[in-house]
């Protein structure tokens, strides 16, 4: 058994898929895994694959061309999942995909297909949660800053939503778990960048008590519930407690 490994990064994963495929060892004789490899196997040999933009681009292009653009979006979504097994799952899906072409997306009865489908659906769902529940607050002079702690890596899917609605504001969404931020300068495209602990602490300190609308929002939130209909259980079902951590109205 040969195990191809790489970093948890889309470009690296596509490169890893390229090399694993090109090795021609037979799909049954190989596996793909993310680094750090958690439990090493005695009789396997490991090959660590560094990201290579050219190879990654080739894989991306052939998924779009030989399967379909929708399949590519699905693979991309699945690659953002927190699961350690996603890379191997994507590889198995692509084996089917390159064989069956575009119709592979309808073959939800196949475990190999439904696996990748459910990985990306989880990512989509979580992204939607953060469209709803992400909260910005104003950091002087004029930056809207938000912190999130998603299970999956939602930033690349989440940021375009806010680019469309706040194209002319300076804003930052920080994924505290991964120390990555989506940064959007006024009237420009957004970019992803890594964040140091100091930067994060600095932002947190700067926004402390700085935004006058925080207390206005809390007042509104308190006033809008109808006492005679109070229903904490329903509220909890709709808005699980762990999402509330960074929500202004629950702080």
């Amino acid at each position: 058994m040969v195990i191809f490994t790489c970093a948890d990064d889309f470009e690296a994963m596509l490169t890893c898929i390229y090399d694993a495929w090109a090795a021609r060892l037979g799909h049954h004789n190989i596996r793909l895994a993310l680094e750090p490899v958690e439990e090493m196997e005695l009789f396997a040999s490991y090959r660590s694959i560094p990201a290579d933009p050219a190879k990654a681009e080739k894989v991306a292009a052939s998924i779009k061309k030989k399967i379909s653009p929708a399949a590519f979006r699905m693979v991309y979504g699945a690659a953002l999942h927190e699961s350690r097994e996603k890379l191997d799952a994507i590889y198995r899906f692509l084996v089917y995909g390159f064989h069956f072409g575009a119709k592979v997306l309808d073959m939800l009865g196949e475990p190999v297909v439904s696996k990748v489908f459910s990985l990306q659906r989880k990512v989509q769902n979580e992204t939607h949660f953060f469209r709803e529940f992400t909260r910005f607050s104003l950091v002087p002079p004029q930056i809207y800053f938000a912190q999130i702690e998603p299970k999956c890596q939602v930033l690349p899917l989440l940021a375009p939503h806010f680019v469309d609605r706040m194209p002319s504001e300076y804003w930052i969404i920080a994924d505290k778990r991964r120390r990555v931020a989506a940064v959007h300068p006024k009237d420009e495209e957004f970019y992803l960048t890594s964040l140091t602990d100091e930067e994060l602490t600095q932002m947190e300190a700067a926004r402390e008590g700085a935004d006058p609308f925080v207390s206005l929002w809390k007042s509104f939130f308190a006033a809008i519930g109808i006492e005679q209909r109070r229903n904490a259980r329903c509220q909890r079902n709709m808005l699980p407690l762990w999402y509330r951590k960074h929500m202004t109205e629950f702080q």
Binding site: R131, E132, F133, T134, R135, F136, S137, L138, Y144, A146, F162, V163, D164, R165, M166, P167, S168, E169, D187, D211, F213, S215, L216, W217, S219, F220, F221, A222, A223, I224, G225, I226, E227, Q228, R229, R230, N231, A232, R233, C234, Q235, N237, M238, L239, M247, T248, E249
Partner: protein
Amino acid sequence: MAASVHVCNTLEEKLTILADAAKYDVACTSSGSDRRGKKGSLGNAFSAGICHSFASDGRCISILKILLSNECIYDCKYCLNRRSNDHPRATFTPEEVCTLTVEFYKRNYIEGLFLSSGIVKNPAYTMEQMYRALYLLRTQYHFRGYIHVKTIPGADPEIIERTGYLADRMSTNVELPTREGLETLAPGKTHQKILAPLRQIQSGIGQHRLSQGKSPRLERHQINAHLPGNIFERAQALELEEKSARAMAIMPSSEASFVPAGQSTQMIVGATRENDYQLLMTSQALYQRFDLKRVFYSAYVPLNEDALLPEKDTPVPLLREHRLYQADWLLRYYGFSAEELLSPEKPNFNVLLDPKCDWALRHLEIFPVEVNKASYDLLLKVPGIGVKSAMRIVKARRSGTLDFDGLKRIGVVLKRAKYFITCKGKMMYHIPIEEDFLTRQLTGEDARTTWEMGHPQTYRQLSLFDDMQLVAPPTVEDTKKTLQGQL
């Protein structure tokens, strides 16, 4: 008498008063408009709507729901803002409304604004102020998010029309389904006055749609194309009044659209004696005659002492409200009509069963239904089979005969459906298709949710009823209904 003591409120005090006063309005959605953002502007609109939080009562918070003012020259009995209440009053300036909307929006608290108001001075003045807030919001604050605004009946049609070019959705509350109800509880309001803006906006939407090459009526869910006899099919043709030259001149730009998310209304449930049949027939008529996008129902919360109103400690009729929403759903997506669900002889919903189960038990002659043969619209009549499940069944049976395992695999929930269907001629269990038997099966399964729906604060009491093998009655009043009904 009127407490017109004017205090110089801070913005936060005003917001607290005017959100508190707006909370009984149930228009909470931000759906129906699709609009991309634009450089230099703020906001977009997402046709499925986005919820941003959930209040302590479990209701979704999607938009900044406020009144422009809670001053009012009227004295509607059921309303907290009525003239005769001694109550703190506040009024926003249009600029304050704009500031709150855009600042909240930038923090991702909300999708947009819902603006209603008490009647300050007179209807015309009030509508002017609301228009002013929207106008500033769209033109000076460059806001492209969602806006839902109430019309003020009695305002000048021209200002209502101008407002329609700025809003995504407009609504006028019908409040009470019958003339008598309205006249007793809302002196100063008449159905005629309320229906005038509904008619005007319907006509405006129709005109606008025609000018874009669409049919004047709103597109309904595509499901309805497969449901012969659905209520929208029987809707009257819309007579469009000739658009006057004046009205044409109002249209602010060629890309402006008129109330793209349609109009809605709201009725209060339980403040007057009207029964569910009257409420649902009114809803149906509103969908058909005014092409409303939605009718909302608001369980009456007793706030005022009044001989004409339920006592102050009357429980809020949450279960009844829930049944009305379920029935409303059946009208809009399942091809049912109000007359099929209720009648003058059976004017109220069964508290223990949802309206579809209840209907099915009264039509046992058409069951069981063979899932491999039944038409789409018949599948939709089966309790427990929804729009999605019916669609999946129709798709899946093209490539083979379905059995019960097959149904489960494609995600059909059999909890209720199993009593009403066969697969290849066989039912899942050998049970009688018999009304009393099925009623007991179905109410047993639903008792818990039904009880919790009616008693959000006291649902723990349920275990007591479970131990004693009683089916918990949601309210005393409802028990009486049930006893007189079919149980």
